[in-house]
């Protein structure tokens, strides 16, 4: 199933199976096709394994819906740029430390490296990390991996052309200002991109 994106794959699978498959099974079917995410960029700072892990995580955070998944918009390489060249060396080190913690916790919980998990297990583990982050007091000076990646994923997604114009709405030259209007009259009513 080379060159078929996940959404297309899901549709096809549903068609083949008569649309009766439960989601986890679908994930299992897909897993057979693409056991690990493919990278559409060559990481220079992250290792291949780290890049694959981050690619998976960003797609759990912002998966494909009627708009593309984060990885399809180059979010993983955006994150690599932020971590490797925008962040201070101190913040970079902290982030890489949280990545190791994330991996270690995955090993503790599942007995496997994150990248070796089934697709469904990866999603479950990322979600469990997210739930735990939301349930605990956040130490903003030592943000957990899931929160840093979530922040960078949203920021990276929303500054892409697709993110700005499809997930959000984007008018570069509004031409006029309407201060207080019904939301449905403010373009298509979605959040403004800028």
């Amino acid at each position: 199933m080379k060159n078929v994106n996940r959404r297309e794959a899901l549709k096809r699978t549903a068609y083949i199976m008569g649309g009766t498959l439960m989601a986890p099974t679908v994930a299992g079917v897909l897993n057979g096709c693409t056991p690990t995410p493919k990278l559409d960029w060559i990481p220079e700072f992250f290792s291949i394994e780290q890049a694959k892990l981050i690619t998976t995580v960003v797609d759990v955070i912002l998966p494909e819906t009627d708009t593309p998944a984060a990885s399809e918009l180059g979010v993983p390489s955006f994150i690599e740029q932020i971590v490797s060249s925008i962040a201070s060396p101190e913040d970079r080190e902290k982030f890489m430390g949280t990545l190791i913690t994330f991996e270690k916790e995955c090993m503790d919980v599942t007995g496997k490296h994150f990248n070796e998990l089934e697709e469904e297990q990866k999603v479950d583990f990322v979600n469990s990390q997210h739930v735990r982050m939301q349930q605990s007091e956040i130490d903003w000076k030592n943000k957990p991996f899931i929160l840093s990646v979530k922040e960078m994923t949203i920021a990276g997604y929303c500054v892409t052309e697709v993110g700005a114009t499809q997930l959000l709405q984007h008018v570069f030259i509004p031409g006029e200002y309407k201060a207080c209007i019904p939301i449905e009259e403010a373009g298509n009513g979605k959040t403004w991109s800028m």
Binding site: E161, I173, K178, A179, T191
Partner: protein
Amino acid sequence: MNLNIKAKEQNTYDAIVVGTGISGGWAAKELTEKGLKTLVLERGRNVEHITDYPTMNKQPWELPNGDRLSFEELKDYEKQRRTGYTVKESTKHWWVKDIEHPYSENKRFDWIRGYHVGGRSIMWGRQSYRLSEIDFEANAKDGVAVDWPIRYADLAPWYDYVEGFIGVNGQKEGLKQLPDGNFLPPMEMNCVEKDFKSKLESKFSDRMMTIGRSANLTANHNGRSRCNYRNLCVRGCPFGAYFSSQSSTLPAAVATGNMTLRPNSIVTEVIFDTETQKASGVRVQDAETGEMTEFFAKIVFLNASALGSTWILMNSTEHFSDGMGNASGALGRNLMDHHFRIGASATVEGFEDKYYYGRRPNGIYIPRFRNIDSKHPDFIRGYGYQGGGSREDWRRNVAEMSIGADLKDEISIPGDWRFGITGFGEMLPYDENRVTLNREKLDKHGLPTFTFDCELKENEKNMRKDMQQQAVEMLETAGYKNVTPFEQSYGPGLGIHEMGTARMGRDPKTSVLNKWNQVHEVKNVFVTDGAAMTSAGCQNPSLTYMALTARAADFAVNELKQGNL
């Protein structure tokens, strides 16, 4: 000998203007329109209107890394970056590199600046307020520093004049502490801003809120087109819809045929003629080649920015060991700024079905209400608030948002309405808040640098407490939720309203400039930028520099005609 005479003739003008920013552009326009052959010197590179705004049409996705600069590159802007908003991929070409233009800090001072034609008129915040009689009387009434040598009536017609030319939008309110101007139609407040205004004014009899007064055109004006509500002013405007030297004053000066603009020309000193006891011109170091050239004129306007003009006077030591115009010892002293970055924000409920269209390059303004009709026990003078309301976008609290497809839905729906205000407070003039010339540490041109010694004192610190308390109280009284006070790191200068250091005054023994902005001791040298300020008020100051410049230029030309200069 003949060659020298010829060279001198070629380098001789009626007037020299040093600087092309907000006040320099005005000096250039006024002097050339009054018929003076004027040389306009700019230390930085040339910037042509529109063609030299490289990022003005860049989409968010065309700017690398979400418009962020790399950690390595930011090291060049160690001080310029202290604002947190100035140095980005889309704006980095407007700010000096601190590694090339260093300065020293006995105490933290944030000197945020750009060296190019147009100066900070390109990047300024465009808020345009008049000082009032209360401000001009303040020093005399409080027994602070020295008295302003002018009153509001001296400047009022010049405020009218400059507003009429540049175009300032605003709402007339009839306030004695914030005089009305010659306004273009006001911008509109959004739903929560209107809500806050009505609640504030019904619950606090001494306070009101108005829409910001900004130098953005709300209607076509003087051949320039109106605002298109992109709110990307800082990159340079393709419509020329906000005031900058490029969009407004320099084209007027060019149109006269009387202006010669010379970029890359660092004025190192004003030349003093001991026979006439006047300035004969300026000495210029070419920023690219280092070559020195002298230019001559009957009058010299220093508009190099508050600290730039003071630097030139301090460095003019050929006949003045402590700097030109410094017999009083006041040169470099009474450095001021507006202290800010303290206030509060809150969530506003009840307008979930409302939104806005377009990006208004302007906010709301709550004019000063302290020490006007009553006296505050803890401080003199006052502060105003700037701020606004908006709906949260994708930058809102990431930790609390959901994950997966639900997160996408959440992001695509406008978030809570938030309303926030930040105080801008008056800083008193203090003799000991000063800059001195440092001849040990040199910049990339081999020229002396500044050492700063400036701090907030008790009056400002007490005022800041009130700025925060009142912000919280007003938002809570309005019934808003999650009222959150904030105070962010502030160092003097961060307001980018640095001013003073060559103050106007009545007495040559205690001031540098007289009531016409003439250097007391060298009458054909005028300083009409922020250096001239005798006190700071709490209003954004650029409009006052424009009015002072137009007034002084008118005076200078009349004096020239009468043979007095």
